[in-house]
């Protein structure tokens, strides 16, 4: 988890979205306490880079992840392999709530979504579905909000929005005070450095980090869901049908990367 604030208003723009960052008040900064309003957190790397392009190096302040900040945050959900099962973690949170709030739905934030790429998001959002089904059966309704990184690929927002378990999707980082409004959060901000990313099957990596024992999930249930507008898939099928004339169609990804096309190079040499 990383934190930053800007010293002046700045509007970040990408071809598919824009977002205005606001500075904390001078009064809040003068208290020498950590301001929570307009301090942004999560996977903030690209917001910092883009804000500095306008405000300069000194116009954007990053903050270390100190114990003082950790104290004001809601609890982070820990992986199944190092802690308790997700249901048990949430039951503990419910027990520690004030009595008058114990019957309200649990509100959970998913920081950095389940990554910034389409493939990660397809698999990760399917893992979120499995996790939330378990939680709902055990403790009742929960509300999950996906907070995507600024550099999340176009399309990740759609994939997350189509996942029935996700109630709300945001395409930029969250402020500390907003994060404090959740009962708990998952932090996928440093996805590539998380335990098991390049070692476990991707679905198992996500299940474990969501707090679910991967071994407890049936393999058929682990197949990722791909939710798309029907008309678009029909259009793609029609194009492929004309192209293939009854033959199988193999989609090859990543061929443009010089170090990767070696596996297929002979296909492109003269007959």
């Amino acid at each position: 988890m990383q934190y930053f604030y800007v010293k002046n208003n700045v509007t970040l723009q990408l071809p598919h979205k824009q977002h205005e960052l606001l500075p904390p008040s001078l009064d809040a900064l003068a208290t020498l306490q950590i301001p929570t309003k307009n301090v942004y957190c999560g996977n903030i790397v690209w917001e910092v880079i883009h804000a500095r392009e306008t405000l300069g190096e000194t116009g954007v302040v990053t903050l270390p992840n100190t114990p003082e900040i950790q104290r004001i945050l809601p609890p982070a959900i820990t992986p199944w392999s190092v802690g308790h099962d997700l249901v048990m973690q949430l039951q503990n949170i419910i027990r520690n709530r004030p009595i008058e709030k114990r019957h309200e739905p649990i509100k959970l934030a998913l920081l950095n979504g389940v990554g910034t790429m389409l493939g990660d998001t397809l698999v990760g959002s399917s893992a979120v579905e499995i996790a939330i089904r378990r939680v709902t059966e055990a403790i009742g309704a929960v509300e999950v909000h996906a907070i995507l990184a600024w550099n999340a690929r176009p399309g990740t927002e759609n994939i997350m929005a189509r996942a029935p378990a996700i109630a709300y999707v945001q395409g930029h980082s969250i402020t500390l005070d907003s994060l404090c409004g959740y009962d708990a959060y998952w932090d996928f901000s440093a996805l590539l450095r998380m335990e098991g990313y390049n070692a476990l099957p991707l679905i198992d990596f996500y299940l474990n980090n969501l707090g679910i024992d991967p071994e407890s999930v049936d393999s058929a249930e682990k197949l990722p869901d791909l939710r798309l507008p029907t008309a678009l898939v029909m259009e793609a099928k029609s194009i492929l049908g004309e192209m293939s004339q009854g033959r199988k169609v193999v989609l090859i990804q990543g061929l443009a990367y010089p170090h990767l096309f070696v596996r297929c190079r002979k296909l492109f040499l003269p007959k």
């Binding site: 493939g119 869901d225 791909l226 099928k237 090859i252 061929l255 596996r263």
Partner: protein
């Protein structure tokens, strides 16, 4: 192995990116680049993923030949 599969099955090969420099499409009847169609949106790209018979990924753990459960939305 990828290459063997492609040769033996006589499958059509679908690309979504330009070929690397120095390579040319010597099998225009079999190798088609639908990159332009994919550029419309990520959903277009994913629709091809859903419609293809097989996916071979040379750069991503996430998209290796997974069998996706396709659901209408």
């Amino acid at each position: 192995m990828t290459e063997d599969v492609l040769r033996e099955t006589e499958a059509c090969v679908l690309l979504t990116q330009p070929l690397p420099e120095g390579l040319s499409n010597n099998h225009p009847d079999r190798i088609v680049n639908l990159g332009d169609w994919c550029k419309a949106s990520a959903d277009h790209y994913l629709a091809l993923v859903a419609a293809a018979n097989m996916i071979i990924s040379v750069d991503s753990l996430a998209m290796q030949p997974w069998l996706y459960k396709y659901r209408e939305s």
